[in-house]
């Protein structure tokens, strides 16, 4: 059973549309990460989120990306205006006590 549940499993959208990807932890944790993986490429760090605030973010995480935890449980990644190059698998992960990550099953985003 995954540590976090991600929805949707697959989303197809038109370029320029907004997309919201959701991550629901199985239990109450404070430290989360979003990563993405473009087909055939490395798993890339996007952003880390601790205690309802962004802790670190990468160069990829520009103004079109945002994260929030609106209700204290669900953890969302929003892409405001999708581009073709945003097509990727997006993974949410929660962090364990010694830095190990426990990933969800991912959300596949396809931008047409």
């Amino acid at each position: 059973e995954p540590e976090v549940t991600q929805t949707p499993s697959h989303q197809v959208t038109q370029m320029g549309q907004e997309v919201i990807l959701r991550c629901v932890p199985i239990s109450n944790h404070l430290y989360f990460y979003w990563y993405r993986q473009i087909l055939g490429q490395k798993v890339e760090f996007l952003v880390s989120f601790y205690n309802n605030e962004i802790s670190e973010k990468s160069e990829i995480f520009d103004d079109q990306f945002s994260v929030e935890r609106p209700d204290g449980s669900n953890f969302t990644l929003k892409i405001r205006s999708t581009k073709l190059e945003d097509s990727a698998m997006y993974f949410c992960a929660r962090r364990g006590p010694t830095g190990e990550l426990f990933f969800g099953e991912g959300s596949r985003l396809t931008v047409l």
């Binding site: 490395k42 993974f91 991912g106």
Partner: protein, 113 residues
């Protein structure tokens, strides 16, 4: 952040033991060594983590020499379902600080019948 080096690919056969070695020459005192497994279209899955000597769980063993400049993931009696990419990561969470686990290319293991 300690840089890691591991083979790009490895081949093995069902029933064999597979050892994947990762070099991390500039590992820091507080760094842990963590290995992940990834199947296509799935997220990386935590396999094992260690700090020194040997760690064993139901999936694998991790061997870490005294100088900690390398580590070896050992998969006993692999099966076809062990075909995956294996990542070695090194790092730590400093008190009050941040930690960004960074994935490299990993080692693509192919297990043949």
């Amino acid at each position: 952040l300690a840089k890691t080096t591991q083979p790009i690919s490895m081949d093995s056969y069902e029933g064999q033991e597979v050892n994947i070695t990762c070099s991390h020459n500039n590992i820091a005192t507080n760094d842990y060594i963590t290995w992940y497994q990834q199947f296509p279209s799935q997220g990386p899955r935590f396999i094992i983590q260690g700090y020194k000597t040997k760690v064993t769980n139901e999936v694998a063993s991790l061997f870490i020499p005294a100088d900690r400049k390398s580590s070896t993931l050992s998969l006993p009696r692999v099966s076809l379902s062990d075909t995956a990419v294996y990542y070695c990561l090194v790092g730590s969470q400093a008190p009050g600080g941040s930690y960004i686990p960074t994935f490299g290319r990993g080692t693509s293991l192919i297990v043949h019948p």
